[in-house]
Subunit: 374 residues, 2 copies
């Protein structure tokens, strides 16, 4: 049985035993003799997000564990191997990455590289028969998103975008408010996602070739997400504006963008994203009340209120919840909370926002249907 | 000495004794033998704002008091006369209003009529030699604002717009943060001022002829104000968008408007106003911190926070503070916190927002200098 067949069986819920026997950690971490398992994850790209968020989170996960790494930096291999007990055979570089197909310890590849490398490594991972988590934004363009989705479909592997908030409890509560119409119909949503960047101007996020865009590609995607899960709808039209005040620092990426969404139910969305100011909030006004999160999209703990009072949920690592949910989707056929279609939809909106700006703040129509609504 | 000469002397700080002797209430309310006084105010228009806010506030004021009323509704005359002990001679209707010039009990006329009547009655009040408070928005157009300002200048009377928040302590604290650069330079300000209107669709606020516009003219003026006092600057450019979802209810006034301001220092302002959703907040991100008010512009008590902690000020009627400040300006030459130029500037911005919308969300340049900055 090759990985692809194995994964197919896994998806159908038939391969638990084989999996657990091939993943020793699973037993130590809650495997119960074949009914449950822990999938092995390989992190591709060992930058700060992998180092300070994902690897620590993978020490707490129950449905998956850190099994391998893929890095272009030789020195990191030994550090990570020692810190996390990763065997030599589960350590890859970008050149030999494709041989990961033969590694039964690795079930999921999590692509945590600069945006420009998301498509390439997600597609290579899929072709190696591995399930894929692709960090947000999913890719540089809608075209690349399509290529990732096709590669995963062709390979019969699962695909998720690294939208950790869909596993986060305050965000779940917001989605519940919307689904159950706790406060009636949503009339207005404000979504801010911004931080002030004053560090190294040569960081990849500020390099268009690597990032594909600035604030909008990085933080803006969160505000797009917020607006959508706060209304439960995809926008039907968008207008947008760009502001630049530090062109020497933001040499070729957008610094600040505002955008306005029209939703099919009549709600208005007001979006702010920036690499030049701090803002992190979500607020929705509804026909029978309101809800808000502030902060709404950092690593947490988030905080929130509604017309019914303060929201209180225990804090867990968002990344732990996210990766466990994706592993659960593979293992137990639970919902994929952030499928590839969601990432693609957000890139369609990103492209519409850039187009509105390029065309003098013109209104751009969107025909998204229910794409990516979960 | 006629009223005009009297007022001129008053402004020069010479007429305290004369004033107190003609305004008996002043003695009971803190007059100290001539150095202080209480000016008589006549409210023009006895709608809900006069009834539930201004008249009660005038029971608490120390520099002014309710001395007269001007109403087009005969039945209200007796009710108000009895409730507030207003003598027959201080009760006017719209026809005999101009004879108020001969009434020494009235120092200030507060115009609380529908927007379309602000200019006419402010000008008639000025020509009657009375100081003027004109409710916001100052008038239907910049042209009308100019006419009001000219009439007051010509008559040598003082003029303020009913911007109560300039006397409100949380708002004062925000202005102090900005002036003293407590948190450095302001980078971004979000200002929301909106409420959901579901009442009588025939109310004057939803009638363009009487209101001059919808959400923007009513609540939008607050968000414009917020953005300006949160940056301490006038915007140099604006873009705007309009949204309509209940055209049957909002038959001829704007329902929801978003606008984006560019400030000369580089700050970006993001404005939301609506008659179809509830939102009431101000947030500013600065180079060394942040501040916020929520609510930011209702009748209070307001509430606020900053990077230095929660803001806490005792609550007083905003209208009391506002009217006392204006009376103090007349009596003691203290600052006019909301001069006519401020109201005019806001109408220039309102007109630019409507123009941006009419011209397809186009960016409109503004050349306001320091107009109305207090």
């Amino acid at each position: 049985m090759n990985r692809r067949q194995f994964n197919k069986r896994l998806t159908q819920g038939l391969a638990g035993t084989a999996l657990v026997s091939s993943v020793p950690l699973a037993c130590a971490m809650g495997g119960d003799g074949g009914k449950k398992g822990s999938l092995g994850i390989a992190l591709v790209g060992l930058g700060s997000y992998s180092t300070y968020q994902l690897a620590p989170a993978l020490q707490e996960t129950v449905n998956c564990h850190l099994a391998g790494i893929v890095t272009g930096t030789k020195e990191k291999e030994k550090i990570w191997a020692e810190k996390y007990g990763i065997p030599e055979k589960n350590i890859y570089n970008y050149d030999n990455f494709d041989t990961i197909r033969d590694n039964q310890d690795i079930d999921i590849v999590y692509v945590v590289l600069p945006n420009s490398m998301h498509a390439e490594f997600s597609i290579r991972a899929a072709r190696a028969g591995k399930h894929v988590i692709c960090e947000k934004p999913m890719a540089l363009s809608v075209e690349e998103c399509d290529a990732i989705i096709k590669a995963c479909t062709d390979a019969g592997v699962k695909l998720a975008v690294g939208y950790r908030l869909h596993s986060e409890p305050y965000t779940q509560e917001v989605k519940r408010f919307v689904k159950e119409k706790t406060f009636g119909e949503v009339l207005y949503v404000s979504a801010e996602a911004a931080y002030r960047s004053v560090g190294n101007p040569d960081q990849w996020r500020l390099n268009r070739e690597l990032s594909g865009g600035g604030a909008l590609m990085n933080m803006g995607v969160y505000s797009i997400q917020s607006a959508i899960y706060s209304t439960g709808q995809n926008p039907v039209a968008v207008t947008a504006q760009e502001f630049s005040t530090r062109p020497d620092y933001f040499r070729d990426t957008d610094e600040t963008i505002t955008a306005q969404f029209q939703f099919p139910g009549g709600a208005v969305g007001n979006i702010f994203t920036s690499h030049n100011a701090n803002a992190n909030s979500l607020y929705a006004s509804c026909t029978r009340g309101w809800f808000s999160l502030k902060p709404a999209n950092n690593y947490g703990p988030l905080a929130g209120e509604s017309a019914n009072g303060i929201l209180t949920f225990p804090h867990q690592s968002q990344q732990k919840l996210q990766m466990d949910d994706f592993a659960s989707h593979i293992l137990y056929r639970t919902e994929n909370r952030a499928p590839g279609e969601m990432g693609k939809r957000d890139l369609i909106i990103v492209e519409a926002i850039y187009r509105s700006i390029a065309e003098g703040n013109k209104s751009i129509s969107l025909d998204l249907g229910n794409m990516g609504l979960v």
